[in-house]
Amino acid sequence: MIVETQVVSVPTKKKAKRMNNTAAAFLHNPKAMTGLVIFLIFVLVAIFAPLIAPYDPQSTQFAPLQSPSAAHWFGTTNTGQDIFSQFIWGTQTSMIVGVGAAVVSTLVAFLVGVYGGLRGGVADSILNSLSNIFLVMPGLALLILIESYIKNTTPLLNGLIIALTGWAWGARVFRSAAMSIANRDFIVAARLSGAGSLRIMFAEILPNMTSLIASNLIYACLGAIMAEAGLAYLGFENVASNSWGTILFWAQNGGAMMGGAWWWFVPPGVAIAIVGTSLALMNYAIDQITNPRLRVQKRKKARVAGRA
């Protein structure tokens, strides 16, 4: 009964999980690490905002339009608010919006894309058309259209709207990935051994899409932060809220640019650019890690040569 075949164990350096290999590659990629560290700094700032921010961000207790000083690292607004405190609290809001919208839109994208890709048929056609439509709709215009009807939104609501309008690209990516995975035999095999659709989606397919999910999360986070800033800047957000976008809105409202109050509008803009770059770096790195063809080899020896 026992077939005599000895297993020659394939040498692996350590019993590292496959996932950890990707993670390890991520951690060894300088671009990814730079991005990750920068992003984590902002995350930490967001988490500890209440401890970091020296003052109440809304309180108008200081002299207006002070340039940066030890007391006010980023100066004050024209109504005497401490911009550094606003910036720190804004970091929190913007990060929550970014990460939250990323999670929501990725989840929607995953459900729509994977379900359609897996299920096929009419359900897929409908879902696919839907995401194609959302995909080609100009995002910001759609957001503005929606905002024109529900003004005075909070950043969180904006994040939600951004997420609910911005899932299409992910859905498309997930769908095509799901379609190629769904054709793989292990899905059929799982079904044969009794797995249901949900199990197949979450236990069989999801782990095979981690890099896509990660990259979609990153992409969506970047998009959400930018979109939220844009909306807030246009005034489509409760101006009493505290986000990078609203700081820019008030700065613009208060003539910061013209008045030479660079300390007022520079920090949020630069912060968005830095967070955005950090996300883009991570995304770029993930691409390279998961797609060996994109990797650039650093050869120690000449390509041809080889005459030992």
């Binding site: 005599e4 075949t5 020659v8 394939v10 080899q297 000449a302 041809v304 005459r307």
Partner: protein, 330 residues
């Protein structure tokens, strides 16, 4: 074997891939000669280094692969000594290659005609467009594809036809030597057979030498005059194809392979697999690479790499053949 000058001479060739886990020694100290108008088969399991060798011969190794050792001469010319310009000229005029998978070897957005004509005009700039098209049609005739397919895109052809187009491109400039890297593996048995027949036919007309790579023993045995058997980056045996059957003297690995195939017509069918799996090419076993799977392995096999021994029909790299004449090269 033959006094004529070989079209291919490989001497002590080693090729390695640089990977995160270390150097993958895909080809190790390989020696091989191919003579004009000869068909030599190269057989081995997946991953034994066949394609790597083929790419090395063509000087097409990319990225992380490099020749660590040895020389390759094609028609007396060292490809690695050529300038890029010379190389571009030399390739395809003298030596060409049929790739493993025809689907991916053809550019999906160009018609068959363009791809053939490109080949011609790249090497014969003096050739007019009309001439090139005419020649393309002739080439399709040679591989027996209707000329109307000149304007077809690859995806409009069947697998067999695509492979024929690739063959047509390979012989477009009448090279003296063609490497065929598993040209038929992805195809149906019947199609496979008809393409093999065609290759043989064309080869007899055009008289080029062929290095035919495959992992299908019986196929190669029918086509080639000599068969090189590759294991773990080494050619462990070079044998006359007619003797590829049980009962002749062969390398234990060759014997294992012969035993592993069920025979279609034999009265009594007993098959036996080779236990275990091919070695890891990053750290090869010290002695004979095959010893962990060899049923006849001795202590010596583990320690020392065997020499080459000439038997009546073959040159074999195995300690078991110590009694035979030792040779230096294949």
């Amino acid at each position: 074997m033959s006094d004529r000058k070989p079209v291919l001479e490989i001497e002590d060739l080693s090729v390695a891939y640089q990977t995160a886990n270390g150097l993958v020694n895909a080809v190790n100290d390989v020696n091989l000669k191919v003579y004009p108008e000869e068909i030599v088969g190269l057989v081995g399991e997946s991953g034994s280094g066949k394609s790597t060798m083929a790419y090395a011969i063509m000087r097409l190794l990319k990225g992380d692969a490099f020749v660590t050792k040895g020389h390759i001469k094609v028609m007396g010319e060292d490809l690695y000594a050529l300038s890029p310009k010379e190389l571009r000229k030399f390739r395809w005029n003298k030596i060409s290659m049929v790739f493993q998978s025809a689907m991916s070897a053809l550019n999906p957005v160009m018609t068959v005609q363009t791809q053939i004509v490109d080949t011609l005009t790249s090497h014969r700039p003096e050739m007019s467009k009309a001439e090139a098209i005419k020649r393309a049609g002739e080439l399709l005739d040679v591989v027996r594809i209707d000329r109307k397919h000149l304007n077809s895109y690859p995806h409009e052809l069947s697998g067999g036809m695509r492979q024929r187009v690739v063959i047509a491109i390979a012989i477009a400039l009448s090279p003296g030597f063609v490497i065929m890297d598993e040209p038929t593996t992805a195809l149906d048995v019947v199609v496979q057979r008809s393409i093999l027949d065609q290759i043989r036919e064309i080869q007899q007309v055009e008289k080029f030498a062929v290095l035919f790579i495959s992992h299908d023993f019986s196929l190669v045995a029918e086509l080639a005059s000599q068969v090189a058997i590759m294991y773990a980056g080494r050619i462990v045996e070079l044998t006359k194809s007619g003797t590829l059957r049980l009962g002749e003297r062969h390398h234990p690995y060759t014997e294992g392979l012969l035993r592993a195939i069920p025979h279609l017509t034999a009265d009594e069918v007993v098959i036996e697999g080779i236990p275990g799996t091919p070695p890891n090419l990053v750290n090869l076993p010290s002695g004979c690479a095959f010893y962990p799977r060899c049923p006849l392995a001795t202590d010596e096999c583990r320690k020392a790499r065997p020499n080459l021994y000439q038997t009546d029909n073959a040159i074999i790299e195995c300690h078991l053949f110590k009694g035979d004449r030792e040779v230096q090269h294949v």
